[in-house]
């Protein structure tokens, strides 16, 4: 959206304006879904995870509050300008507003990754007992009303996984956004409508998607190295690594959890090499950890490897199509345009699988090594209320999805409207 606003800001042509308007509309219709579901997540810490909130609030609440103050206000206020301000503010103010919405999104991602990373690799705190009589297991110790207290803000915020996870997540979402833009372009090229708009969307989309797929090689690598070093159990589960020794780098495979073996297409010692530049560095296997501290291994392994497969498809697919497009050969190739029309599903799948691997692989802990997920729930909320509200959420989210899809697909089908975009 910002790239199209930039284009319009430079040219001030009616056609570029209609293109920018379309991306603003698609963005805002999607953004309100983010607002609606984001409110749910903030409420949920208190409603569904009250014991967790009490335990970590001293550390975890600050990034959430900062996200509201530094990011949500910025995004939502200047989104108002994008929606209502085209004829009220100067072209420059409008263009700057688009960048501020962008900045708000990036800051929002930063603060929420800080919060989530602290759950993966907690730092800068100590655990004290409040003595209120509520006994909770913290690590391997039963404590009386425990809570984590901040001792060093920067150590907590910039914990070992924050930067690797932030860069990894942001590059993933830029790839996803680029693929959506390219898919919209592919749709109109296939239909033979709005040809210039379509070609520009494909060029912008594929350029962003390719650049950040390549970046992902770097960010994904540092993320994986961080997991090997900081969360050895998670990495062992991700690679189905049962016995102590050099860790292989698997491509696809299957874990037999009862026989405790893994059958996979893999490079022996691959992970060892990527982390230490030798193929022989040993890492503890799953058998070396207490069974009670292991995550669901099959699910961690498969989600992680599905993510790897989607990444392989992404980096090959985007760079190849980008090259063909650069040579001017993509728009003639109906088959590839059809592939591009659906290619956005690949990064979406990759993002979902990556998060599943990160969160399932951390189980049974909600805060790694400190608090178990089962100890984190709201004890006063009866199970039937959880089931009931969950069912209602399914219905509401389904309705929102249908409502959103009708609108966004309708906007895409219609394409940019030069005449109508005066309003």
């Amino acid at each position: 959206m910002v790239m199209f606003e930039r284009r319009y800001y430079k040219s001030q042509s009616a056609e570029d304006k209609s293109w920018a308007d379309l991306w603003v509309k698609i963005f805002t219709a999607t953004f309100v879904i983010g607002v609606a579901t984001g409110v749910t997540m903030e409420f949920a810490f208190g409603t569904n995870w009250a014991s967790y909130s009490r335990f970590v609030g001293d550390i975890f609440g600050a990034p959430l509050a900062a996200e509201g103050l530094f990011a949500f206000f910025l995004e939502s206020t200047f989104l108002g300008v994008l929606l209502f301000g085209r004829n009220r503010v100067s072209a420059k103010f409008y263009y700057v507003s688009a960048w501020l919405v962008w900045a708000g999104s990036m800051l929002s991602a930063l603060w929420i990754i800080i919060a989530n990373s602290w759950m993966q690799t907690p730092r800068g705190f100590k655990v004290v007992e409040t003595g209120n009589g509520t006994m909770v297991m913290i690590g391997s110790k039963l404590m009386n009303g425990p809570k984590a207290i901040l001792t060093d803000f920067f150590a907590a915020a910039l914990n070992p996984s924050t930067l690797p996870r932030y860069t990894h997540t942001v590059s993933a979402l830029l790839v996803a956004g680029g693929c959506v833009a390219a898919a919209v372009g592919a749709y109109h090229l296939l239909k033979g409508t709005h040809k210039e708009f379509a070609k520009t969307s494909i060029s912008y989309g594929l350029a962003v998607a390719t650049i950040f797929s390549v970046m992902m090689l770097v960010t994904g690598h540092f993320q994986a190295v961080e997991v090997v070093q900081q969360q050895p159990v998670k990495m062992a589960a991700m690679e189905g690594h049962w016995n102590d020794g050099p860790m292989p780098l698997g491509f696809i495979g299957f874990v037999n959890t009862s026989a405790k073996t893994t059958t996979a297409l893999e490079i022996p010692g691959g992970v060892s090499f990527l982390e230490s530049f030798t193929f022989t560095k040993p890492y503890p296997g799953l058998n070396s950890f207490a069974p009670a501290d292991l995550p669901p291994i099959q699910a961690t392994y498969q989600t992680y490897h599905l993510m790897i497969v989607t990444f392989a498809l992404l980096i090959l697919g985007t760079s190849w199509m980008w090259w063909l497009n650069h040579k001017g050969k993509l728009e003639e190739n109906k088959f590839l345009l059809k592939v591009l029309l659906w290619f956005w599903l690949i990064p979406q799948l990759g993002i979902q699988m990556g998060w599943a691997a990160a969160e399932i692989g951390r189980q049974p802990w909600i805060v790694q090594g400190l608090m178990r997920t089962k100890d984190a729930v709201s004890v006063v909320v009866p199970a039937y209320q959880i089931a009931l509200t969950l069912a209602i959420f399914f219905v509401i989210y389904a309705l929102l999805f249908v409502g959103w899809a009708r609108i966004v697909l309708g906007l895409i089908k219609k394409g940019p409207q030069v005449a109508a975009s005066k309003a």
Partner: protein, 356 residues
């Protein structure tokens, strides 16, 4: 000690900001089916809050985040204890968040999203007051032991069916809140509209102002009878002067609003009711200080379990200090650009203008 008090005040500021800003757009949403006679009227109502409602709602999110960070046990106890009530608010806010944008792009479903906008505004407008009423009254908490500090009631407790019998205060404050939001909404519409819609909104504003005054009086009497501790706290039992100042501000705002409305000064009438919202938030704070969740008391004043106060439920001094630094940097920036945006979109609404 000082930091806890500062954060109590800052939370008050955030809640007051929310009451002033989201108050009027919740009111507009609730009045939408009643004042939106024609399609053009409806467009004015939607566009009057269109550019700002999302930013207004962020005040709630930030207040929630600040409560979480500064007083985690309060956040955990209230949000899990009020589970079903908060889920209702949440469902409403979800529908409200999408309704305006979706309505603009999907004419075939406009009726569905109109309803979503109305219900998504009306339900929180009522329930926020009910929640405040519960906090003024105090809620039953478990004492020391396995469930220490957890809510010891259920959904109906929140409607006033306490372990000590029915108490009308929560519902009464709910109605007071609804009345205030409606008055804020009508004042905003009068400010932003012209012609017939402006006439009707102004007339409604006058009626609602009398309703609001009546609700303030009823709430005062009911608080004196059913929550005497809170009542005398406002009069200075725990904290001298502060409560009285806010009561005085409330009276000033009511008179100012009446004079402004009679003189046809729509902007001042809206300022006045915004001041009422700030004053009521201040009265609420004075009624509970230094507790954030007072404990429910029986007729003899014996508490049902412990109270969560700013002293026994706060985060560490370091966290409060870090948060204060974040607030000192962030709040002025936010206030500055919010001011810019309100200035940009000031004036009457053009029903054919940009946006939904």
């Amino acid at each position: 000690m000082l930091l806890q008090v500062i954060w109590f005040v800052l939370l008050g500021v955030l809640f007051a900001g929310y009451a002033v800003l989201d108050g009027f757009d919740l009111g507009v949403g609730t009045l939408y089916p009643f004042l939106g006679k024609s399609e053009a009227d409806k467009a004015v109502l939607r566009k009057s809050i269109g550019p700002v409602w999302d930013g207004n709602e962020v005040w709630l999110l930030t207040a929630g985040g600040a409560l979480f960070a500064a007083f985690p046990p309060v956040y955990g106890t209230v949000f899990s204890g009020f589970y079903l009530a908060l889920m209702l608010v949440l469902f409403a806010l979800i529908f409200r968040a999408v309704s305006l944008d979706f309505r603009a792009h999907d004419p075939a479903w406009a009726g569905v999203w109109d309803w979503a906008f109305f219900l998504g505004s009306a339900l929180p407008a009522l329930l926020f007051g009910v929640a405040v009423g519960n906090i003024v009254l105090g809620i039953p908490l478990y004492g020391p032991g396995q469930l220490s500090g957890e809510f010891a009631g259920n959904f109906f407790t929140l409607l006033g069916f306490t372990p000590y019998g029915f108490n009308p205060l929560p519902l009464c404050v709910g109605l007071l809140g609804l009345g205030m939001f409606l008055l804020q909404g009508a004042s905003w519409i009068a400010l932003k509209s012209v012609g017939d819609l402006h006439e009707r909104a102004s007339a409604l504003r006058s009626t609602l102002a009398w309703v609001f005054v009546a609700l303030v009086m009823v709430a005062t009497v009911i608080t004196e009878i059913f929550a005497p501790v809170a009542f005398f706290n406002v009069l200075g039992a725990k904290l001298p002067v502060v409560g009285i100042v806010f009561v005085a501000l409330l009276l000033v705002s009511l008179v100012w609003g009446r004079l402004a409305a009679n003189g046809g000064k729509d902007l001042h009438a809206w300022y006045a009711v915004s001041l009422s919202a700030v004053a009521l938030t201040g009265i609420w704070a004075a009624a509970i200080f230094p507790a954030l969740v007072p404990s429910l008391k029986d007729a003899k004043g014996v508490a049902y379990g412990p109270a969560l106060t700013i002293f026994n439920a706060s985060s560490s001094q370091l966290t409060l200090m870090v948060m204060l630094i974040i607030a000192v940097i962030g709040v002025p920036i936010v206030l500055y650009y919010m001011y810019l945006i309100y200035k940009t979109f000031a004036g009457k609404v053009n029903p054919d203008g940009d946006g939904y």
